[in-house]
Amino acid sequence: MSRLERILAIAAALFAVLAIALPLGIRGDAVVMSWTGVLSVAWPVLVLLLLALFTLKLPPLVSGLLAVAGGAVVLFELAQFDSAGWGYWALLATAWLVAWLFAERLSARLASGAERRRWLGMLVPTMFGLAVLVAWEAGTRGGNVPNVLLPAPSVIWARIVANLPILAADFQQTFLKAVLAGYAIGNGVGLLVAIAIDRSPFLKRGLLPIGSFVSALPLVGIAPIMVMWFGFDWPSKAAVVVLMTFFPMLVNAVAGLNVTVAMERDLMRSYASSYWQTLFKLRLPAAAPFIFNALKINSTLALIGAIVAEFFGTPVVGMGFRISTAVGRMDIDLVWAEIAVSALAGSVFYGVVALIERAVTFWHPSIRGGTT
């Protein structure tokens, strides 16, 4: 048991005592104490008992179950009072510390090789995500934070479920049309221009500066102009995405096309290989790690670009349009619902690109985990 784990366990025990002793909250005029309900006293007592029984040597999975139970109790207790007292925050702190202890112990076991079931490693980020959601829910509802400042996750979720058709239409307009089309064109053109630049020194001097010039243009200036050129619907957003994704791909691809070493180029020359044969058999495969770097950077850039571009003229659908109008109506729940959808879409998009990268550049030392 490491020093950190000992500190976490002792702190958890201290907060458990505080959670039992201090008032949980106020309901009407009455003070709610932990012993008013069964769960609110049972769980901290259980924490104390287990920590004492195992003298700080809780098996990781027991502390994991304990943390999950703690999170459930924290959420359940929200319904028991109108505003939270110090006991409730101590309860939340206890649950957080027990979850932390679990993550710490599990990662230590995984790192030392004592635990062979690698999938258990997924539990650590999952537990962290759950802990953040529970703390968010408890903090906003227990602390009576106004919805305009920060709605609780449950409120956002309810909003998502209630507005599924709207969110789906926005997602289709912004992501499936503007983002995907712009992403494909921007990356494609970036790669082709990189090859053209590589082919001709004249273009290298001419096009690369123009590329950096385009990338330096401010998004808020470009978006309205694109609306003038390509109309209110998604093509103008796709055009903004093209401009945003073009340059990262150009720079990365130009760098990637130059990573081959002299010996590899001499080898191709000794076969009297043509320019295109060398490009497709040597230089593009060698550039793949760079190209995927750009694809990953662009996967998130594209979404940001499309959403912001919708602030400058759009039909009455789209994630950016919805956010800007919902803010105007102080409908912050809907803004958060759109943010949740875009965060999910962005993460999945990035994840898919990263998975393809692993499959394509399996040979690269950074992925196969070897040297040279």
Binding site: Y271, A272, T361
Partner: protein, 260 residues
């Protein structure tokens, strides 16, 4: 019979920011079909540069050179040589068989032809069974053997080898040397081999070209008297030691007017 390589008064001067560097000066040499010619000398003597001139990877600045009766450029374009570099230079995204297939793909051989040649050349270098492995899954010696297979795959008559075993340890090197001799006997190719190891040069060659630096030039050409059949033990015979001695003398002569 035309010489495979014929150089007359060949010279090559590199222009660098520090002034001109004479890499080759007045080199005269003929390599006949079926010869195993080693180029030996200290670094900077131009042995690699000479090999690269044959391969049309460097352009001479004076004199003439022909490869199979053509200019080096025409010879390269008609794919008349295979080149083995100091490092394997295998592509990590290709399996061993795909790496050997690389020149065949570029030269447009049919699928069936490719398969047959891959199987044959991998067998020649004793790599049968490793077709589906990636280069980074093999040892350094196996990687270099795969790169030799790649150079052999398209059946050029001339094999240019630039210190192919320089990075390998001596035990692996001995082994690969005797395998290379077997391969030489089996394929009847002409081999030009750059090395800085005297035993390696004497053991392998039918002709040894001794070179010296500043400026890079040929100081001695020794025809080997060793028999074609050469077990590793031949390296302890008086005949072998005598040739080695003459190579050493040639190397020393090249250094004689230096201050060191």
């Amino acid at each position: 019979m035309t010489a495979v390589v014929s150089a007359k008064n060949l010279g090559l001067t590199f222009r660098t920011n520090d002034g001109d560097v004479v890499a080759l000066s007045d080199v005269n040499l003929e390599v006949q079909p079926g010869e195993f010619v080693s180029f030996i000398g200290p670094s900077g003597c131009g042995k690699t540069t000479f090999l690269r001139v044959i391969a049309d990877l460097e352009q001479p600045t004076s004199g003439t050179i022909s490869v199979n009766g053509m200019t080096p450029e025409a010879a390269r374009k008609s794919r008349s040589y295979g080149y083995v570099f100091q490092a394997p230079a295998l592509f990590p995204w290709r399996t061993i068989e795909k790496n050997v297939a690389l020149p065949l793909e570029i030269m447009g051989h049919s699928d069936a032809e490719r398969k047959a040649r891959i199987a044959r050349t991998l067998e020649l270098v004793n790599l049968t069974g490793f077709e589906r492995k990636f280069p980074w899954q093999l040892s350094g010696g196996m990687q270099q053997r795969a790169s030799i297979a790649r150079a052999l795959a398209f059946d050029a008559d001339l094999l240019l080898m630039d210190e192919p075993f320089g990075a390998l340890d001596e035990i692996v090197r001995d082994h690969l040397n005797s395998e290379l001799l077997k391969l030489f006997a089996a394929t009847k190719k002409t081999i030009a081999f750059v090395t800085h190891s005297i035993p390696e040069a004497v053991y392998l060659s039918t002709k040894i070209v001794v070179m010296s630096p500043r400026p890079g030039r040929v100081t001695d050409i020794i025809d080997s008297t060793l028999p074609a059949e050469r077990p590793l033990e031949i390296r302890e015979t008086p005949e072998f030691l005598e040739i080695a001695h003459r190579v050493r003398e040639g190397l020393r002569a090249g250094h004689s007017y230096e201050q060191s």
